[in-house]
């Protein structure tokens, strides 16, 4: 990875307290074009708080956020979405009773005409196939109901949904939690493919093996503080664990 890569997202000196508890203390983070950044830390290290600030669920007490060099104020989740930041949540924000295509286009269905809002099912299905193919996801039937898919496939649909918004970046919160080992590999493959398509991502995970497999850089939080940032090929598991706990 070249050092002069352009920075797409920059968080500067973020502080956030809940009452007397300092959840984040002067945390700065940057995400570069075309990279996957791993965000690790013990429970309560501030990973979720940091990402919630980025997605507009919380607001920072101090500090600033820059997207493509421009300062932004993310005070609502929809502002974050408008800036091209897509979240893939840990607890799968899918409607399991709807089909794959219906989930991908939920809330922004492709319409045949605007008054009665008749949907164009064919177009939604072919666009879905397009996105699934782009990410090499092995779901051939976009009409299949999501509750008939495996956990890994569901996670793949969730990531496809994020990708379908043409985001500038994707934040993945524990995407491999609760998955069978065989399926974890598939989800990690999809994350690697995001990189091929030029979509930078932040991966939050408890599983260091996942982080080492797909991330270019690793960012370690401990007790609400940034303790280290390493290029993946210049560090190892032991060093990261030392940063996290010792």
């Amino acid at each position: 990875m070249a050092e002069d890569q352009k920075i797409i997202l920059e968080l500067k000196n973020i502080q956030k307290s809940f009452g007397s508890l300092k959840a984040l203390d002067d945390v700065s983070l940057d995400l570069k074009f075309g990279e996957v950044l791993g965000l690790v830390g013990d429970n309560a290290a501030g990973k979720s708080t940091l990402m919630k600030i980025l997605s507009g669920f919380y607001q920072a007490d101090k500090g600033s956020i820059f997207v493509e060099g421009k300062q932004v104020h993310i005070d609502l989740p929809k502002v974050s979405k408008r800036l091209g930041i897509e979240m893939v949540y840990q607890n799968l924000e899918l409607c399991s009773n709807l089909s794959v295509a219906e989930n991908l286009f939920l809330g922004r269905e492709i319409l045949r005409e605007p008054f009665f809002k008749f949907i164009n099912g064919k177009e939604m299905e072919s666009k879905t196939i397009e996105i699934l193919k782009k990410l090499k996801i092995d779901i051939s039937e976009p009409r299949k109901s999501v509750d008939k898919l495996s956990g890994g496939q569901q996670q793949a649909v969730a990531i496809s949904k994020a990708v379908s918004f043409n985001p500038k970046m994707i934040i993945l919160d524990e995407p491999t939690a609760n998955l069978a080992v065989k399926e974890i590999g598939k989800v990690l493959d999809i994350i690697t493919r995001l990189k091929e398509h030029g979509i930078p991502a932040i991966l939050i995970s408890h599983r260091l093996e996942d982080i080492f497999q797909v991330c270019d850089r690793i960012f370690v939080l401990r007790g609400g503080r940034r303790v280290a940032v390493h290029n993946t090929n210049e560090t190892n598991r032991d060093e990261i664990i030392r940063h996290m706990f010792l």
Partner: protein, 315 residues
């Protein structure tokens, strides 16, 4: 066999409900000589049209994860207003329009309580059920009020040998079927019922979806009221008092998931017919009325049990 069923585009659930209906029809055909006559069949269908129209609206609100037990009270109140207006010399067209507006106001009160104040829909509609019914009693002074007019004779009559109310009921089902299946609104109804949080994050205004669910339920109650007045030739503030749970029963029999998000409107129509055939058959067999209640109660329990086995149930 399974392939044939799939080719017929029957989902397994719809097929089993349909089978139950057929079995009941066969049973009553053998036990009563009057059951399988054209006159009786038309009678069953006509009698089910009021229930059927309301069930279609209730179905929508139940897919969203709500419920509405105030429909019969809305029917009583909106028809009471209609009857009073007509008796005091208001034109039929205006009276009907105002009665529908009354139904929509009732729906808006239910909808606002459920969607914006977040009061549990069962509690909300149990409350408004009493309130609307009380107002109906008050304004009619607890009397039956006759309603006459060419329009009502036409709606209460027949066209090509089939009761007009049946055409109206089928139109309601077709409209709701198409709306749920082919429009963005329909998809949102299922989405909010299936996972409100995911729907919210996807940018759906879940409060408006919930609000309109209760509005549609009330709208069908208002429409059913027009049919009621046409068939009975009068309105009574006690309308539907004995069949309070019939609409809910029909929808549950139709295979809806009580936790929301799943169900087919075709199933509800079959559920309506099952209930109508059951009532009619028991009357033909001279089953005493308290046994009829007992059987209906057992049928509700059975339907809910089947739902919980399928993984619906309440959470």
């Amino acid at each position: 066999m399974l392939k044939i069923i799939r080719k017929l585009n029957f989902s397994g659930e719809i097929f089993s409900i349909f089978l139950a209906l057929i079995i009941m029809c066969v049973f009553f055909s053998f036990t009563s000589p009057y059951f399988f006559t054209i006159k009786n069949i038309l009678n069953v269908i006509m009698n089910s049209s009021i229930l059927g129209i309301m069930a279609a609206g209730l179905f929508v609100s139940m897919v969203i994860g709500e419920i509405d037990v105030s429909q019969y009270s809305i029917l009583a109140l909106s028809t009471a207003v209609m009857a009073i207006l007509i008796q005091s010399g208001t034109g039929i067209g205006l009276a009907i329009t105002i009665s529908m507006i009354v139904a929509l106001i009732c729906g808006a009160i239910n909808g606002a309580s459920v969607a914006f104040l977040r009061i549990n829909p069962i509690i909300t509609t149990l409350g408004t059920m009493l309130i609307y019914r009380a107002i109906a009693y008050k304004i009619t002074e607890a009397r039956a009020m006759g309603v006459e007019g060419d329009f009502f004779s036409a709606v209460g009559g027949r066209f090509l040998g089939i009761p007009v109310s049946v055409y109206i009921m089928l139109s309601v089902y077709i409209i709701i079927y198409v709306a749920l299946k082919y429009t963005a609104y329909g998809k949102r109804v299922y989405a909010v019922g299936g996972n409100p949080q995911a729907s919210f994050i996807s940018g759906i205004d879940i409060r408006m979806v919930r609000f309109w669910g209760m509005m549609i339920s009330a709208m069908t109650a208002g429409l059913a009221g027009i049919i009621f007045v046409s068939q009975v030739g009068a309105t009574v503030p006690t309308a539907g008092n004995t069949g309070l749970m019939d609409v809910v029963t029909a929808v549950i029999l139709g295979g809806i998931s009580l936790s929301g998000g799943k169900g087919k409107i075709e199933g509800t129509l079959i559920g309506v017919f099952i209930l109508a055939v059951l009532s009619n058959g028991m009357v033909l067999l001279s089953v005493q009325s308290y046994y009829q209640m007992l059987v209906k109660g057992l049928v509700i329990l059975l339907a809910v049990y089947v739902d919980s086995v399928r993984g619906g149930g309440f959470k």
